[in-house]
């Protein structure tokens, strides 16, 4: 290798390192901060590695706060939104791509349109409906709100997946004497699994992240999801960094794991508009 090539390679690796540090440097600092005792938080100058490594912030957020409850609420709401959005979405996508009737196109374009609506536009009227139905401060009310936010996108994505599947396989199943329900469950659905995984990941990520609706719909501590719960550790008197840092790391773990598991297919096949945020 000649000198200029070697130099080019070195510059390239510096770029890679710079890019990676830009992306995860702040996250590493948060992780390292969460692993030091509270007395070291405000040390000047700060040390890069904790002087004493400890998990006490992690124990205390579980012991001293309602964090477990926030977490459980978030988990329940995610499950609820995922189940409804996926089942209703698959059924709708099956209908929109496998049958011919008027208004099909319109419905699928409307779901794309609904997916792009600003959430501030929906939060005001949905809040009013929740008040009328006495669903404010209830987890079920929040689940319905999240279905409103996620379902249009699920329908849209599942439709584009369904369209790529050859209809002939299902038709030959009919000819072999298979009923429609069996053709759906044994032929179409198994092929649709990548699409279903995609919408489950999307719905989970969306609901796990969501802050605005959770803030507006829920008033009592016991019903909070973690985005609002974590933020409540910032009070007007004090900021409980020991809870915030460890809590933030804990809630990031599921999101990061899911991303790591799905990232290959994310980069490979998704194309534009596959994700929202």
């Amino acid at each position: 290798m000649n000198a200029s090539k070697r130099l080019g390679r070195a510059v390239f690796y510096l770029l890679v390192i710079g890019l990676v540090l830009f992306s995860i440097g702040p996250i590493i600092w948060m992780l390292l901060s969460s692993l030091r005792p509270k007395v070291e938080f405000f040390a000047i100058p700060p040390t890069f590695l904790p002087k004493r490594w400890t998990l006490e912030n992690y124990f205390s957020v579980f012991r001293e706060t309602e964090f477990v409850r926030f977490l459980m609420n978030s988990i329940w709401i995610s499950i609820g939104a995922i189940v409804i959005s996926t089942v209703v979405g698959v059924s709708a996508a099956y209908s929109l791509t496998r049958f011919q009737y008027r208004g099909r196109k319109l419905f699928s374009v409307f779901s794309l349109f609904a997916y792009m609506l600003p959430s501030i536009l929906l939060v005001i009227p949905l809040y009013l409906i929740a008040v009328q139905l006495k669903l404010t401060d209830k987890l079920s009310g929040l689940v319905l709100a999240y279905v409103a936010l996620c379902l249009p996108y699920c329908i849209w994505v599942l439709c584009s997946f369904f369209e790529t599947l050859p209809i002939e396989l299902e038709e030959s199943a009919f000819i072999d004497g298979c009923g429609r329900v069996r053709a759906l469950f044994h032929v179409a659905l198994p092929m649709l699994i990548p699409g279903i995984i995609a919408v489950i990941v999307f719905t989970f990520t969306y609901v796990w992240n969501e802050y605005l609706f959770a803030l507006v719909f829920i008033n009592s501590d016991a019903k909070r999801t973690f985005p609002v719960g974590l933020e409540s550790f910032v009070t007007s008197f004090d900021v409980y960094w020991e809870y915030i840092l460890s809590g933030s790391i804990i809630v990031s773990i599921p999101a990061v794991v899911i991303f790591l598991v799905t990232q290959r297919s994310l980069i490979k096949g998704y194309g534009a508009g596959a994700i929202k945020g």
């Binding site: 100058p45 009737y101 501030i120 933030s248 980069i267």
Partner: protein
């Protein structure tokens, strides 16, 4: 086979129709009518005021200020996301040791929960003990600690930086997946013709990713313009009104000022702005699926 049974087909759509009607169409209509009423949050019935909410908003200098801030927020965050996002995609597309790991690391900011990263930045940007001030002071860039989120002139720049940091991976993911479909023969032919890397980028890569970039910019404009959580969590629109963009203003009218009608009118105006983008997007993508972009 399928073509004859419309009714069974429609039956599969019924659950979706019900959910969309109750959770999206009805609220949208509701929001629209609400914008013609003066209604406080604890009232069950408002007073019809016609276009008064709209007129009030359009004559309010605060609205135009928020409109301007929204444009600044959207344009600057998108410019940053596109530049860094494309650069990152090009770097991560190259062949090198540890590429898989580097890719995962670079995408991470986008997949962390919003509240975790915003609180993280509050920790990093804290005036007294934040790492950013410490770093800049030890590099002698600044002389004394700066309150990044608490100073009017700096708050917007700070949240723009955070907006770019969090969302550039969205551009990277999309561009990267497009880069992987470019035929290698194009580059090989160009090499034979003696083209350098810059020329290859300008004459091959850029034209190939132009389509996906257009769609990504449209989508990101929509999402950034509508963004409320990250700003609400970082500055709540402050200090003063220095980061009060349109969606944050609508939120504060509706849920802090309790004026649902006025908040709705504000949201409807935003919707009309966004609608233009949505229509362009739907046109662009339907053309793309016909192979014209």
């Amino acid at each position: 086979m399928y073509k004859k049974d419309h009714l069974i087909g429609i039956a599969f759509l019924v659950p979706a129709i019900i959910f969309m009607a109750i959770l999206i169409v009805y609220p949208l209509v509701n929001s629209f009518t609400l914008s013609f009423y003066r209604q406080l949050i604890y009232e069950t019935q408002g007073v019809y005021v016609g276009f008064q909410n709209y007129l009030k908003i359009l004559y309010d200098p605060g609205f135009w200020q928020a409109f301007k801030l929204s444009l600044i927020w959207t344009v600057t965050t998108i410019a940053g996301q596109v530049v860094i996002g494309v650069a990152a995609a090009l770097i991560l597309h190259a062949d090198f040791k540890g590429r898989g790991l580097a890719r995962a690391f670079v995408m991470l900011p986008f997949f962390m929960p919003t509240v975790a990263v915003t609180l993280m930045w509050k920790w990093l940007l804290n005036e007294q003990y934040g790492f950013v001030n410490y770093l800049l002071m030890s590099l002698h860039v600044i002389e004394k600690p700066i309150s990044w989120l608490g100073t009017s002139s700096l708050a917007m720049a700070s949240i723009v930086f955070i907006g770019i940091w969090r969302y550039f991976p969205f551009v990277t993911i999309n561009v990267l997946s497009r880069l992987q479909t470019i035929q290698q023969e194009l580059y090989e032919a160009a090499s034979i013709d003696g083209a350098n890397s810059w020329k290859k980028f300008w004459y091959i890569t850029l034209p190939e990713i132009k389509g996906v970039l257009a769609v990504v910019i449209l989508l990101r404009s929509l999402f950034m313009f509508n963004k409320v959580d990250i700003i609400l969590l970082l500055t709540k629109g402050g200090p003063g009104t220095s980061t009060l963009t349109l969606p944050v203003q609508a939120y504060s009218y509706a849920f802090e000022g309790m004026q649902l009608g006025r908040g709705s009118a504000n949201a409807i105006i935003q919707f009309l702005i966004v609608l233009a983008f949505i229509l362009i997007y739907i046109r662009t993508t339907s053309q793309a699926s016909k192979g014209r972009v």
